[in-house]
Subunit: 435 residues, 2 copies
């Protein structure tokens, strides 16, 4: 039996999870399947760094290119993250006929087309289950389980950090910055949390899922992205009054003339199952023409779950290497030359109901002016709430609208912006009652 040799690039949290799994389960799992698989080399940035997992120092290198060019290595596991040098390393590995398993959502979202094309023409395997929502088997669900059906929508919560912060803001009523700081000290948010709280990480996953589900390339720049940094405890408690809850939703959806690919906070009914997914959990619903609604829930990140996803991909690829069939099926299922190019709809062309929070002077006639400006653009108001009056202080007025085109709403808000009735930027949150 040929031993299948793995080289890994990166030995951070995820890399440590992979080493832990190989240290403790190699025999039990791979040999059980009738395979001999060995982790033979790891590339790191700093060889001297102390590590939580035991791994033979002689097999650790600071030269990542020595892994992707090592003729002994069959599968390269890339867990270093980021665009470069990960991209150069992966392309080099493919050019050397090596199969690749990666957890790098950033790279696949930004430059997936180059990777998929190299994988396809190089006739190697690409495993990327770990790149989307940890161990939740969403890549297999889209690429294989629901591949014979028509996927109409994929929607969910795919960023654990953002969901953790929103969940705590909701249960504790505390402001964003306070919870963020606490999340950072507890290790739930990184010291630079931008990707998580600004929706970029969720958008990476949307781009990858949309490309896979709809058989098209997705230009990352066309994904609409809005984060959670401007959500306040007031917005959350107002939502509660309406029977709604705020979640950072990631959506990839088939629509007339193209697809939607967007990430933004949304108010959804408290009775919707996504409303009860709290903490660092991820949840993704897949709506198909025949299979109807299926939902996958799990820890969307973390060393253990991500390592588990990587190990699943390694097993799949090792089986194919040992038994035949490796490199035969395109990474995106549909051969790139057969894919159709699909337009990503602009957010301005979409229609939602809206929650709008205005900060206005406390004097008569303000509501008439707000309603007038909205009415001029054909936007009608569904409800109005004003709370907490204090003499001579600005007050918050919350309006919800009936369905309106985002472009019309933005024009109305633009016109109100420079008047003396808008004392602060308007908070706009999309309401998805049929989420």
């Amino acid at each position: 039996m040929k031993t299948i040799k793995i080289g890994m690039i990166g030995f951070g949290a995820v890399g440590s999870g992979v080493v832990n799994l190989f240290n403790n389960m190699t025999r039990e799992i791979f040999e059980r399947v009738g395979l001999s698989v060995e982790l033979v080399k790891i590339a790191v940035r700093n060889k001297g760094k102390k590590r939580s997992q035991v791994f033979d120092k002689n097999k650790i290198t600071e030269d990542a290119f020595s892994i992707v060019t090592d003729p002994e290595i069959d599968i390269v596991v890339e867990v270093m993250g980021g665009e470069e040098p990960a991209m150069a390393l992966i392309l080099k590995a493919i050019s050397q006929g090596k199969h690749v398993v990666t957890a790098n959502k950033h790279l696949l979202a930004m430059r997936g087309e180059e990777v998929y094309s190299a994988v396809e023409s190089g006739e190697v395997e690409l495993g990327f289950e770990a790149a989307v929502a940890g161990a939740i088997p969403i890549v297999r669900a889209i690429r294989s389980a629901f591949a014979g059906d028509r996927i109409d929508m994929i929607q969910g919560i795919v960023n654990g950090t953002g969901n953790y912060i929103l969940s705590r803001m909701t249960s504790e009523g505390k402001p964003f910055n306070e919870i963020l700081k606490d999340a950072q000290s507890l290790g739930y948010a990184e010291s630079d949390p931008a990707f998580d709280i600004e929706g970029i990480d969720s958008a990476h996953k949307v781009a990858i899922m949309a490309a896979l589900a709809f058989g098209t390339s997705v230009n990352f720049g066309s994904v609409f992205i809005e984060g959670i940094t401007s959500i306040t405890p007031d917005d959350i408690s107002m939502a509660r009054e309406f029977g709604l809850k705020i979640k950072l939703l990631a959506t990839a959806k088939r629509c007339e003339g193209g697809i939607e690919a967007r990430v933004h906070p949304a108010m959804i009914p408290q009775s919707h199952f996504l409303a009860s997914v709290n903490g660092a959990y991820n949840a993704i619903e897949i709506i198909c023409d025949n299979a109807a609604k299926n939902v996958l829930i799990g820890p969307g990140a973390g060393s253990g779950p991500t390592a588990s996803a990587i190990a699943g991909d390694v097993i799949d690829i090792a089986c194919k290497i040992a038994r035949g069939g490796a490199g035969k099926t395109p990474p995106m299922l549909i051969p790139l030359e057969l894919r159709s190019e699909t337009k990503v709809k602009a957010i301005s062309d979409m229609v939602f109901e809206y929650y709008l929070r205005f900060t206005v002077p406390d004097r008569p006639g303000i509501l008439a002016k707000l309603a007038g400006a909205l009415g001029e653009k054909g936007i009608s108001i569904a409800s109005m709430i004003q709370r907490g009056r204090q003499e001579n202080e600005p007050v918050s007025v919350v309006l919800t609208t009936h369905s309106a085109a985002e472009a019309d709403l933005d024009m109305a808000l633009e016109q109100l912006k420079d008047t003396d009735i808008c004392l602060a930027p308007v908070t706009k949150i999309r309401i998805q009652k049929d989420a």
Copy 2:
């Protein structure tokens, strides 16, 4: 491009779903993937029967064996159900080098070993995603996504009919028989509902999942099975008082010295996610050493979802036929010769907390006798509730116990059975607070 030809056996609800999918999506889906796949022949019991789906009458036959021996056919889709003649047909198809896709949980639970062995030695593919919980991608999750991890437990609600009945009993407070009749008239339960309400259908799925997850054969006779027919509205409302809800749980679990494989009603905390899975939905949690808890939810049955699962398997196999690699990986992932035989633990050797409902005469000293009989076997009582006294009528006494060995409890109940204080069979429901 070679056209991959499908022959189907059975044209009932699921078969109609498959035909519908082929009629409406063949071009869009298979051609998109770069495959040419055609449904060329269907075997039925009665050619004259009217059908909801259009299919060329010249391609319908009453001779199922003509499909499994047709040299033109590459993949046989078996949706007739039952043990025979399905088994003979599948074995014949395999012997002719045909790949098989089946939705037949009954067959795989009872005679899976024969099927897997024939598939493995015949070097063909077996797709059986449709056999467990409709389109929920549980087979792929176990066989591939979590294959590099150690699966510790699979637990869930895997029978939609049973869950529909229990859900309505819970929300409406009506007795089992009334809801069952209504479910039958609405098409949620079959005219012969035994497999669903007696837990057998769930047990079929447990047997298949346990064999796959734990790499062992599972003798169907060793799966513990208890249905929902003796659950009363009283039990449901008592559960509510304890903060619990009754669900028909299917469990496959790694334990000391073997595995657990069991189906029975259980009282679980109302806050557990399985408690909020209502109606005909299925939900399965998979707990792994590294991936922690992941959950899959979806419609566990029905023509559309089951057809979708079949189409996913057909795509996977067609890709392998067209591009290489078909028949190389064993159907159970682990080659049969490498599997270990694992003991299925007897229910009498397990430990639970229990809910016990006694029907006793309304006179002093009864509780002392019940407590005494239980105490003699080392079983201690956690709570006691008696409701609804009527002069000279038997009354219900409900006891809950602390953790106790099932064998001890059964002995205590056996001793009480023939005394004058048990006027009707005792209802025993396992409580799983840490479900």
